[in-house]
Symmetry: C3
């Protein structure tokens, strides 16, 4: 792990050290779980008691913090300890992810690949013919970059990412381990004898900037043209994106959801986990879909959906509340039928 | 990308060139999205307008096509432009996938592995002891082929496919990146102390001919004997096939579905996405299952199922329509109860 | 495959050979499917007929077994044939998995990594800086072990397992191909412009002893501190475990289930396949969840849940039975309304 001195951290945070600033920390932790060598923070005064017993080497506190007992731990006083801690996390993260650089051997790159400056190429990484790799790209071990792939600056490909030939990825993307981008769409033409013939999948996948793609997520290439993931989209783990799908800017999709072929999803949508969306739909902007829902129809902007097949969430919740009481409802109907039977019929009159 | 001259394409398609046949194209595209260097097609006369503005370098048209305005683009006249385009896609696909051949270094193959002619072995691919690899097999980078695996002719294993020892795969199969075949079945015997002991999984996976397996799909080996995927089966991405499952000829399974241990699925079935099938069932031939359904019982041939747990789709859709109106139904029952209360009881008589 | 003589097997099983003990077998099989060169067992007398026609080279039988016809197959007589066969499976398994040892080249290990005795390091495996690898660990080809990872004795990492930096794994674990451990949690802070900023994920994943993790399963690291999988947990394939989740001892989770961020699951739970559990819940001990359920609330010990959103399984099954008959229920209500209309109203009195 990377080590920082407390003095160095105080400098990053524009804070003031109280205690020994020369000690070094190599991990961040919650104040109650902290071990020697870690740095933590105290933001909520409710948890003040923890600072007198913590094993942390240093704690980030509010600049006005007045300890009520003697303290053994080094303090860094800042304006906003939580924000300070978060900034520190980011700094740490940047340093950790940026520290990897250079080429580990053995690795493979085709002679005609173009590779930018300060690129990390892990051992056993593969770069195919005609690839164009931007600056500061991090290519972890076992990454496969097929022929004629383009990758923008500052993008990180974690271990085992697989990019099929022709894939295009923007800048500042993060693609997690085992994600597969550009695999063949699931297109098969039924034949007279009951078998299926594969429809050639000739398109590619085009991914914008600042897109995040989770571990073992799969994105199929288009039959023709491109499957498109626009700027700022965040995809969680184990998601399936089928051929010719388009996902609009800043849409977020949680783990294990699937979007079928040729469906267009708008921008700013929030799709919860284990959702399924069938093919050839138009999903509007700012649509929200509850977990495990199944979307079977196109949806206008700002819709909030639930159920499988889904409908408006408010209506779904009312229907589901009634569903839970169905046995009681059946009992009431039985009772009504009995009462009706005991009533004088109109014929009796 | 591979480039073809328009003259060469016309020859493949048995068509006639009108315009400059020496220009070269390297991509196929829709007529409205086309860029210079691409070839497209005009099949439906409804879209004729696009041919006068397209940026494509060449367009495949009907042999009787009569332009109503002057044309800048090169034409290839054929009997059926759509079929022509599809054939071209296939030809292109074949050339692209077949062009990879030879051995990229470093790669690994055990001394006693048998490897056919014209096999592509990508960098960092691994072939274990006693393997038998057919002719024209394409083994992309980072493929792992465990000991004693058998692979038929013309099969393609994309990057990062993992085949456990003893796996058998037929000919002309396509297995996409990250698929795992032969992992241990999920079998654990509960012990007196609440822990579980793994039941050794000693069988293998046997896959027929012309099977397609999607990216990051997992197929577990059998406890004993074999998990069997028969000829012509098409599995989409992120599917789970458990130990001792059998899937019949030409059955199609969409993404993220799962089939539990020892279930037998017949031939010609169509299983939609995110379906779950529990273990030890017999699913007949030509069964259809709607997306997100949960199959909890064996099914005869030609059944069409929906819901979780599933029943006949027609009945499910009727029940679900009533479910959507449940709050209204409850209101009607409330109303009935009120009316009954206001009626003279039979005791009043 | 590994071959054993029947005499050697009899010794392992403490059994007695009848027939030719020098013949060798290299596979285990069901008695009805057996081929020459395999060994099988006869436990249930109901299946005795099979022993007279089996092609197996040897069969394990009860020590008191009295054949009613002449036998061609070699017998091993033991006290409990099923237990004998199971022991043999285990012995075989141990021998197969333990036979891999040594280092295949090319492989990669950082200079400062600590590696125990009898470790197998497959070709193209990667061990990062500061790693501590125990004794008898099996690292298959294409495994990625990021910096500062710790792995206990006797753990097996199958091909393509990816461990992010800082992951800690106990002893005697089995992690199947393509599993990803330690990927970033899915945490994004919404910004004023509709985009999202990634919240740095600085924690790690800590996995206990005797844990089994399925193929292509993903486990995210904690935002701070650790995502924790305790001793004896069994996770099937394609499961998603989000950041800061904790799973208690000996809990079993079936394929394609997902557990969202910060949820704590107790010990001894049984979660069926394709289940979703939302974030920040407390799931008690010995909880059971039916397949495809969606858990939306915390659950006390010993709860049995079903449905999405779930409630008590018994109640769910009753409500679902009524749901299946909803169209009939609607018809009954229509009938009641008609009858009420035909009744003399109280005003008529």
């Amino acid at each position: 792990m990377i080590e920082f001195s407390v003095d160095y951290i105080a400098e990053i945070l524009d804070g003031e050290v109280q205690g020994d600033g020369s000690i070094r920390v190599n991990q961040l932790s919650k104040i109650e779980d902290a071990q020697p060598g870690t740095i933590s923070f105290l933001s909520n005064p409710k948890y003040e008691a923890a600072i007198y017993t913590t094993k942390a080497s240093a704690v980030i506190v509010n600049k006005d913090f007045q300890p009520r007992k003697p303290l053994q731990v080094t303090l860094i006083r800042v304006k906003d300890p939580y924000l300070g801690f978060t900034s520190l996390l980011e700094e740490y993260h940047k340093q950790v992810s940026m520290q990897k650089t250079g080429v580990e051997e053995p690795s493979y790159a085709a002679d005609d690949a173009t590779i930018g400056d300060h690129v990390y190429r892990g051992a056993f990484s593969y770069i195919g013919q005609g690839c164009e790799i931007g600056h500061n790209v991090k290519i972890y071990p076992h990454v496969y970059i097929g022929d004629h792939v383009k990758i923008g600056d500052d993008t990180i490909l974690y271990s085992g990412v697989k990019l099929y030939p022709g894939t295009e990825i923007g800048s500042a993307c993060v693609i997690h381990a085992g994600a597969v981008i550009g695999s063949d769409g699931f297109g098969f033409a039924p034949q007279a004898d009951g078998s299926y013939r594969a429809i050639p999948q000739m398109g590619n996948v085009v991914i914008g900037n600042r897109v995040s793609i989770g571990a073992n997520t799969t994105i199929d290439c288009a039959t023709l043209a491109s499957t498109v993931i626009k700027d700022g989209v965040k995809l969680d783990n184990l998601i399936q994106i089928a051929h010719n799908v388009e996902i609009g800017e800043n849409t977020v999709v949680a783990a294990q959801s699937g979007i079928s072929g040729s469906t267009k999803v708008g921008k700013g949508c929030v799709i919860a986990g284990q959702v399924g969306i069938i093919g050839h739909l138009q999903i509007g902007n700012y649509v929200k879909v509850a977990a495990q829902s199944g979307i079977g129809k196109s949806l206008p902007d700002h819709t909030i959906e639930m159920g499988s097949p889904s409908f408006e969430q408010k209506k779904y919740l009312r229907a589901y509340a009634a569903f839970k009481n169905l046995p009681e409802l059946v009992a009431r109907i039985n009772e009504l039928e009995k009462k009706i039977l005991n009533l004088p019929s109109s014929e009796d009159k």
